[in-house]
């Protein structure tokens, strides 16, 4: 079972501390949502957990092995990372964009092995992109494009998925659709860590919520346990009304 653990990691940009003393452990089959205000250090934490940046102190272990010590293709076969920036540089076809998910296996859009091709087909299927497969990506709507990115991640067949604000600029229906994709991934045994800004959606879908503020994790646990008026106030600086584990309203202090 794939396990990602961070042991007291921290990262600085020059003199500024981005985050510090973060301990966490992601369990297989669980959907973990990282929530916190802008500038809390969520994206920086994700880049370290995804192995793209080496933490200044502490270690990130993937199945007991140091993440920064792995080769980039070893790491990419275990872990898919979806950054915030979803813009494609060239208007490639949906199918070709998804095929890039096979990069670590040596596949390219121009040359796919049998295994690559079936992984791409399966990913297109899961994300309901079959009818769009030959469309140019610059003709897609925001919702379709975000499904392309998830299909790209699923095509890598990695046990771990890390996504940075995948719901930005999506309408409610597409937000739910994407959350269902992630949920399905974890129900099949995958491990997912997702940064979300929509607290209600996070509470609805997450198995575990990680609360982050000023570069520290301040609380973690199930939504039922941690979605409290107190956490909303100390993490987001808002007064929230929560009834039966549901977020009813938010007002500024």
């Amino acid at each position: 079972m794939t396990q990602l653990t961070a042991d007291s990691i921290s990262l600085n940009a020059g003199q500024t501390e981005l985050f510090a003393k973060v301990n966490l452990s992601l369990s297989p089959g669980k959907l973990t949502c990282l929530i916190g205000p802008n500038g809390a250090g969520k994206s920086s934490l994700l880049t370290c957990l995804a192995g793209l940046k080496k933490p200044a102190t502490g270690t990130v272990l993937l199945n007991g092995q140091s993440l920064t010590g792995m080769t980039s293709s070893e790491r990419a076969k275990q872990l898919s990372y979806l950054p915030q920036n979803r813009q494609l540089s060239w208007p490639v076809s949906v199918e070709d964009a998804v095929a890039l998910g096979r990069f670590a296996y040596g596949g390219t859009p121009a040359r796919l092995s049998e295994a690559d091709r079936s992984a791409v087909d399966e990913a297109l299927d899961i994300c309901e992109l079959n009818e769009l497969r030959s469309r140019a990506t610059d003709t897609l709507s925001g919702g379709e494009l975000s499904r392309v990115h998830f299909a790209r991640a699923f095509a890598g067949k990695t046990p771990l998925l890390i996504a940075d604000e995948p719901l930005t600029a999506l309408d409610p229906k597409h937000q739910i659709r994407i959350m269902r994709l992630i949920q399905r991934f974890t129900e099949n045994g995958g491990t997912a860590l997702v940064v979300l800004h929509d607290i209600a959606l996070a509470a609805q879908f997450a198995d575990v919520l990680l609360w982050m503020r000023f570069g520290r994790l301040v609380d973690e646990g199930s939504p039922a346990k941690t979605l409290t008026e107190q956490n909303m106030s100390r993490v987001f600086d808002v007064s929230a009304r929560i009834e039966d584990g549901r977020l009813i309203s938010i007002a500024d202090d």
């Binding site: 980039s72 790491r75 990372y81 979806l82 540089s89 060239w90 208007p91 121009a110 140019a136």
Partner: protein
Amino acid sequence: MIRDLQLNAGLFTAGIIAIFLACLLGSTSLSIADVFGGLTATGADEHSVIIWQIRLPRAFAAFITGAALAMSGAALQGLLRNPLAEPGVLGVSAMSVLAATLVLYFGLATASSLILPAAAIFGALLATVLLGFAALRTGSVVTLILIGVGISSFSGALMSLLLNFAPNPFSLADMVNWTLGSVANRSLTDLAYSLPFIIAGLSLLLASARGLSALTLGEEAAAGLGLNLMHQRILVIVGAGLATGGSIAIAGAIGFVGIITPHVMRPLVGHDPGRILLPSALAGGVLLVSADILIRILPTYAELKLGVVAALIGAPAFVWIAIQKRSGGLS
């Protein structure tokens, strides 16, 4: 993919036809049989001389130059994720021409036939390395292109200085000819000195193809896919430096081939920056051989320089591409 294979085979055939036409057409009229006779050295001696000493080297020079510049342009565009990147625009050509002209100015080129290509390649590599460092410091492609414009202008200023100090009209004419860009009067030996560098450069660029495809998703996502960004930058920068420098050692500065050719090829390969490299090289070769044939048969008072014609057609095309540019890339 079968479509890519067809495209490359078609362009390769077009290249052979263009080079054959370049042997056929010219001030001395030859028949098709004369060309075959000349090529196989079974015909009249004068035909052999015309083909092997004049027309074929010139056609090869044009093809190699076009291929090197077009593939360098395509790879730089993929790396910087911007369709306006190109050795000329980024100042790589200007720096290379400057280095080659310096060698000519100080009369060093006569010492060894390797010095001129070496200087041109050194200049090109210097510019690409500068750009590489700039790329590490700035995430903005626009800034990078502006830095290229700066490198280009500064090299141009130093060029003017050299021309200003030219000791006599002959060396002035010599240096000016370089900056205009031409493939006239090249011998197969001239080509042989530059060819190894160009082949090495193009091989590095082809090795970067997979990474260029991955960069379609942006640098962060590409790194997440398992691409080593540093290796990728070095491959493209050194590859484009070697290929551009080698081509400039052959033909001087010929602009815009590296921008127009990939632009035309892009829709034919599904906009994939990895698949575009080989077709761009072949098409760039065909383009320059054809342009050079045109120059030779145009009844102008003085023969037009290839670089001048390329710029006359290329600069307006550059503006057109900039206006047409679809989403993405520019950030």
